[in-house]
Symmetry: C2
DNA sequence: GCGTGTGAACAGATTCACAGCT
DNA sequence: AGCTGTGAATCTGTTCACACGC
């Protein structure tokens, strides 16, 4: 009995779905039609029981004694994370990291489209990166509107991050990926995912110090 | 009673320590000498009770009725995550993302030093990025040894990630930051942190689809 | 027989609420 | 009076182990 999604999915489950989808796309490309929880979980780096529980949250798409139909699962997980649709993205802060993301091929392959670039530095404004012109901060709302952007990426120095977040929210953006270490304050309707590169490195250092 | 660290810290605590340290450095710079759990927690984006529990794991460095001494806390957290020491890093995969990390000023400021660059593309080998020459994959072990690298960063396409991880481990690296979506198989003595940019974006899309 | 789906047990992380120190 | 440190309660997430359907 499939239960489309009356319920909200647990955050931990949501964070693993992209990984499952990636493995499924690989399987599809190699012509695999059915995959077991053990095979899929192993390749996605999770415990098989956890995978089964995650998938059962989406509905009952497996066949007992057989496994999961790869196409069905791609369709159902894809529906949940918006695969096969196009998601316009604005990047604010066109330093090295912002430029790298602007060029990042993998994002394009998964449906993310560079809808606009914003930076405050006069040397950058007017030039283009990945074929997209860099606009000044006071045009942020216009850039978001013109590109119909749905996701904002913050790759500015930490000190500017909160101001940029405020401006993005004012411009109607409700999903933000933040690369500044600064935690952002936003209204409850806005989702922020933070990636703290320095923090990740320091966690590695913790392990280096405390393990052989 | 301080209990240096007989026990291993919970993973969740470790992942928050860099954030606390950042706020503390800011406070230090503005001349603040004592800070309460509420002030520190708010700025770090966590619940005050959680902050207090995290800090109490390191030992008892606060004063009841007063708060935490900023310098003491910087010293103690810094000891745990290796602040004020230099950590040489090798980056494998000098595409846009690898180059961005090579130039990333914030990492340098926190003690991470670019010890080597490796890439398989003949056009890149021999050229330099951020003042460091790019070497071919078969010189990886030599690059690690010469630079005394302790951390390996993988910014290659997904298909090469596992091979690079194997080579890094063979070269003696035991801490890896992996930007490829591919989950890595490594010996139990090796720590891997994964950053999946596409996955993060897809999680944002999930929210976009399922919330107003 | 095989592999999914899931109740129940377990583990980990967070928050509450207050005792205890300054 | 104020704020830390922490037992107890709660919430979230993971694994076990097996009933159930193919």
């Amino acid at each position: 009995m499939s239960q489309p999604n009356a319920t909200v999915l647990p955050a931990a489950t949501v964070s693993r779905l992209p990984g499952y989808l990636r493995v499924l796309h690989e399987a599809e490309d190699s012509g695999v039609e059915v995959i077991s929880s053990v095979a899929l979980a192993t390749r996605a780096g999770v415990h098989p029981a956890l995978l089964r529980r995650d998938l059962s949250q989406l509905g009952s798409y497996g066949t007992r004694g057989v496994g999961y139909d790869v196409d069905t699962l791609i369709r159902e997980i894809g529906r949940v994370v918006g695969d096969r649709l196009t998601w316009p993205v604005v990047i604010v802060g066109v330093g090295h990291l912002g430029q790298a993301l602007a060029h990042h091929e993998v994002l394009r392959e998964r449906g993310f489209e560079l809808a606009g670039l914003v930076d405050s530095s006069p040397e950058l404004i007017g030039s283009t990166v990945a074929g997209v012109p860099i606009r000044p901060p006071d045009e942020l709302a216009a850039v978001v509107a013109r590109g119909r952007a749905v996701i904002g990426v913050i790759t500015t120095p930490a000190g500017q991050a909160q101001g940029v977040a405020d401006a993005l929210v004012d411009a109607g953006i409700r999903r933000i990926l933040n690369f500044a270490a600064q935690p952002l304050e936003v209204p409850a309707t806005v989702t922020v995912r933070g990636v703290d590169l320095t923090g990740e490195m320091q966690v590695l250092v913790y392990h280096e110090i405390h393990e052989g």
